[in-house]
């Protein structure tokens, strides 16, 4: 109780002290005055003479100053008072040197802002747990055949059943896949993104629908058509009204009842969809290998155990698999690793490290500048110490300046971080999950605070410690020279500049290698010309017969080609492949010999002139023509990769091949042309064998990608025109959204561009800061060596020599920095080799070019101060002695 009232009184005293000199101080003076007067009177009465009386009174009172100090400490919270004093003083000092204050705050703001933004990205993409129950126990399972380079393959439902039955480490397994769905509404048929999931998927993930309920196995077995809809779909199409629950939508021409609405942002791994359906298990049939599989570990089991389990158990059902599936293996991958692959993780952590390096450089620079300034305050510090300030008090006061700078920079930096985050959200790559969720949430703000404190310590402490370590004698001749900082401060600043350059070269090396990689990737010939090309997915209704589909596709193509502004158009089944298939291909070698083998392979139906439309060069033979019809010989055009693989060293024109083993019923195709490779999985993956068959000669697929190269200014309007035309031809056909081919292909390299751009930004910032640092140091060095330079000039040195001397000092530091940083850069390059394309981490050309930059910067930063040094008047310089 009384402790509280004491503290309250002290707080009142504190607040009073903020309003100026306290009433309390004056009162105390009056009291002391009264006391002494009374004592003197009594002393006089006791018979002392006036002088003696005064002395005795003072003696019996004791030290007034000490008592006043004690009193003051008791009447207020001196810690805060002193901190406020220090803050005011620091502000005043900063106002006196606006140049330093501005540079320091700007540099630290950049560093704190960049680090906070980067942490926000790392947080949402890597650190935050996924929105599922116990996400660390979730895994994705792949069917693979590593000997044939068949990876991340989907699985059959029957296989998944076996895994569930035979695995001891997996608690549950669920399947899912994207599905095209057609929603029939008042405006016609529309294609929407849909997904099919097994009924146990939601419970396994631990996700509850926002409204309503999930699927049950019984209902699925009974064949009831229930669907779940996404939150976005619910808001946009159904007005977000709870009444939507229980209503029926016509999906794929069948009435389906909405039984639940999913929470906002719901995704299964990377799969996002508007409408979700449940699928059951077809009894007795293995099913197609078409499903993604997710599993949950039992509590306490590890991924390795699950992997071992499944691999061991596979032998039990292997015999029941069809022949070609027996060699397959099953791979268990933790969900986290699947979502953000090892390579992306590495990239992100490296960027994080890079941005932290920039922070260290920034702090080093500001510390360096601070050290220079604090050297000038030696006399003031010595005076304070002589007047009785404790070392702790002085330290606190010196540190306040650094903390003040850090605090201001911290506030500005946090604002800057929100701008950066906005930019990252807008321009970042799409394949980093949850990148769009990056924000300034409390954890990120806490990180900003931590970094600000760290900056405060790094910037405030070294100058303070440097000063305290000096002999705190009042200045004399010794003090005069020690004002220039002495050897100690100079050495520290030099090592800071060296550290600057070392870090800068590390970042530059990384950026240089990434730029080279990016250059190489850009140079990869995609195999087609992508400018001004629109892609749309055309779907024919299921009910249509084969000839009707062919006729529809033909008519749509003719309509499109007739449109003004359309230069070329064509169809292809699917240009960009998500996964590779493995196919058995039997090849006619000529000389009556055949060979069968498995190829990672894709086959596409194309309209006759598509390859010309795409701009894929024809290497040999002829393109398809209108002569290739259902009644003529089945022909195919193959790509260069397939030609090399299947007929190495020979001319494939005129040769035949078929899909499947020799005795399969599939037709023999005759090769009529060979085209260049089309990079159907992005520029960084190797081209794989592809074959093209004329649409006219094959069974028309359900959906086709429609291509058009157009000069139209407004692609959306063109898309709408075409959509109307399609709708006019066939009411239930649908045309998906129009996408630019350049954008689609560009998406493959979006992540690389992101990483490269960021690293370039970091390294340029680092270089800028290193320039500022070395410039400051050289200026300081000249200022302290003015006498020496004066002497040299007076004794006969040429101004050119002085110039070279200063320049050499700066260059030496830069070179040492490069020498120190290069080995580390090489090491880091090895660690991050996966991120590179077409260039080795120790590529000499890149490293050489990248080293020239800091050297040039170091030289350039020293030029101006060096020229000023040349013009020192020796007489004036010597007079300073």
């Amino acid at each position: 109780m009384s402790w509280a009232s004491v503290q309250a009184a002290r707080l009142r005293g504190l607040l009073r002290s903020f309003r100026g000199r306290t009433h309390l101080d004056d009162e105390l003076d009056d009291e002391v005055q009264f006391h002494l007067e009374m004592q003197i009177e009594d002393n006089l009465k006791a018979g002392m003479d006036p002088a003696e009386a005064k002395q005795a009174a003072r003696r019996s009172f004791g030290s007034v100053a000490a008592m006043q100090q004690s009193y003051r400490e008791g009447s207020s919270i001196t810690l805060i008072e002193e901190a406020a004093q220090d803050l005011r003083y620091a502000l005043r000092l900063l106002r006196l040197s606006p140049g330093f204050a501005f540079t320091a705050v700007m540099v630290l703001t950049l560093a704190i802002g960049a680090n906070t933004a980067m942490f926000s990205v790392l947080n949402t993409v890597l650190l935050q747990p996924l929105p599922y129950h116990a996400p660390e126990r979730l895994a994705v399972l792949w069917t693979e055949d590593p000997s044939r380079n068949f990876r991340e393959g989907r699985s059959a439902l029957w296989d998944v059943q076996q895994w569930r039955a035979h695995s001891r480490s997996l608690e549950d397994l669920a399947t899912y896949d994207a599905m095209s769905m057609f929603l029939t509404g008042p405006g016609g048929v529309e294609q929407i993104t849909g997904a099919g999931i097994s009924p146990n998927l939601l419970p396994m993930l631990g996700v509850q629908p926002l409204l309503g309920r999930g699927f049950t196995a019984e209902e699925v077995a009974q064949g009831q058509r229930h669907i779940l809809i996404s939150h976005g779909f619910w808001q946009a199409r159904l007005g977000g009204s709870p009444g939507a629950l229980g209503t029926t939508l016509t999906v794929n021409n069948r009435p389906s009842q909405i039984i639940g609405i999913l929470p906002p942002g719901f995704q299964v791994a990377r799969l996002n969809a508007d409408i979700w359906e449940a699928h059951g298990r077809p009894e007795g049939v293995r099913g197609r290998e078409a499903w993604f599989v997710m599993g949950r570990l039992r509590p306490g089991a590890t991924f390795e155990q699950a992997q071992a389990d499944i691999t061991a158990g596979a032998s039990q059902w292997r015999e029941q698999l069809p022949a070609e599936a027996r060699g397959r293996t099953i791979r268990v991958v933790p969900l986290n690793l699947y979502l953000v692959g090892a390579q992306s993780r590495m990239g992100l952590w490296m960027l994080g490290g890079g941005v932290f390096c920039v922070f260290l450089i920034a702090a080093a620079n500001v510390t360096s500048l601070s050290l220079a300034r604090s050297a000038v305050r030696m006399r003031e510090i010595a005076m304070r110490a002589a007047l009785g300030a404790s070392a702790a008090r002085i330290l606190r006061q010196l540190c306040t300046e650094g903390f003040l700078l850090a605090l201001i920079a911290g506030l500005c930096g946090t604002l800057l971080a929100s701008v950066f985050i906005h930019l990252i959200r807008a321009f970042g790559p799409d394949n980093l999950p949850r990148l769009k969720d990056a924000a300034l949430d409390p954890l990120v703000l806490a990180c900003a605070l931590a970094i600000t404190l760290l900056a405060g310590i790094l910037v405030g402490l070294p100058p303070a410690l440097a000063l305290l370590r000096r002999d705190l004698r009042p200045s004399g001749a010794e003090g005069g020279r020690s004002v220039s900082g002495g050897v100690g401060v100079r050495r520290v600043r030099q090592s800071l500049v060296v550290a600057d350059f070392a870090l800068a070269i590390m970042l530059l090396a990384g950026a240089g290698l990434l730029i080279r990689s990016w250059w190489n990737v850009s140079g990869v010939d995609p195999g087609f010309r992508s400018e001004r090309v629109l892609v749309m997915e055309l779907s024919a209704p299921m009910a249509l017969s084969v000839p009707a589909k062919q006729s529809l596709y033909q008519q749509v193509l003719e309509t499109v080609q007739a449109l003004p502004d359309v230069e070329q158009a064509g169809y292809i089944g699917e240009l960009f492949k998500q996964n590779n298939r493995q196919e058995m291909v039997t090849v006619d070698q000529g000389n009556n010999g055949t060979a069968s083998g498995r190829l990672q392979f894709s086959a596409e139906e194309i309209s006759a002139h598509l390859l010309q439309a795409l701009g894929t060069p024809l290497l040999r033979g002829r393109p398809f023509s209108n002569q290739d019809r259902p009644e003529t010989t089945p022909v195919a055009i193959i790509n260069d990769a397939m030609a090399r693989r299947s007929w190495p060293g020979k001319d494939p024109l005129g040769r035949r091949f078929k899909l499947g083993p020799l005795d399969s019923a599939s037709p023999w195709y005759t090769v009529v042309g060979v085209v260049a490779n089309v990079r159907a999985q992005g520029p960084e993956r190797e081209a794989f064998p592809q074959m093209f068959v004329p649409l006219a000669q094959s069974t028309p697929p359900r959906t086709l990608d429609l291509f058009l190269r157009t000069a139209a200014k407004d692609p959306q309007r063109m898309a709408n025109t075409i959509r109307k035309a399609v709708h006019g031809l066939e009411k239930n056909a649908s045309l998906g959204a129009a996408a630019s081919l350049e954008e689609q292909f560009g998406a493959y390299t979006a992540e690389r561009r992101f990483q490269t751009a960021l690293l370039i930004a970091f390294s340029l910032t680092a270089l800028l800061m290193a320039a500022v640092g070395i410039n400051g140091l050289i200026q300081y060095s000249i200022a302290t060596r003015t006498q020496e330079i004066g002497v040299r000039l007076a004794v006969g040195a040429q101004t050119g020599e002085i110039f070279r001397m200063i320049l050499a000092e700066g260059l030496k530091l830069g070179l040492i920095g490069i020498a120190v940083g290069m080995p580390v850069a090489l090491l880091l390059g090895q660690a991050g080799a996966n991120l590179l394309f077409g260039v080795s981490p120790t590529d000499p050309a890149t490293l050489l070019v990248v080293s020239i930059l800091p050297v040039a910067v170091a030289a350039a930063s020293c030029v101006v101060p060096a020229r000023r040094a040349m013009r020192i008047d020796p007489i004036l310089a010597l007079r300073q002695y």
Binding site: S2, S5, V6, A9, R10, E27, L28, D30, E31, V32, F34, H35, E37, M38, Q39, E41, D42, S60, F61, G62, S63, V64, A66, M67, S70, Y71, G74, S75
Partner: protein, 122 residues
């Protein structure tokens, strides 16, 4: 020298008690009056550094044991007078009890010490 130091140490711990008792028995008094009174009653055996009184008075006022106001002294000078408060009286009672208890315990302890050597001899 050593005597003075011992005296000072004893005084530190009991200053509150002495001040409160003084104000209780003499009524409102200024700082100098309290100091003189303490020196008088202790018959010059306790000689405090008079200055140390004022921080103690401040602390006691913050605790709420005494109150202060400015008034005129007996010789028409302006002085700050202190008076004991109700809380202060309670505190005085407690401090007095504590002091009596401690000093009687020590008294007993010292009696035992002086009597035991005699026992040993017989």
């Amino acid at each position: 020298m050593e005597n003075a130091r011992n005296k000072a140490e004893v005084l530190q711990g009991t200053l509150i008690l002495l001040v409160l008792q003084t104000l209780e028995s003499l009524g409102p008094l200024h700082g100098y009056g309290v100091a003189r009174r303490i020196e008088q009653i202790s018959q010059e055996t306790l000689q405090l550094n008079q200055g140390t009184l004022y921080p103690a008075l401040l602390r006691m006022e913050q605790e709420g044991w005494i109150t202060s106001c400015w008034s005129t002294s007996e010789n028409n000078r302006k002085a700050k007078f202190y008076a004991i408060s109700a809380t202060g009286r309670k505190r005085l009672v407690r401090e007095t009890e504590d002091w009596r208890r401690i000093s009687s315990t020590i008294e007993r302890f010292l009696e035992l010490q002086t009597s035991s050597p005699a026992k040993g001899r017989s």
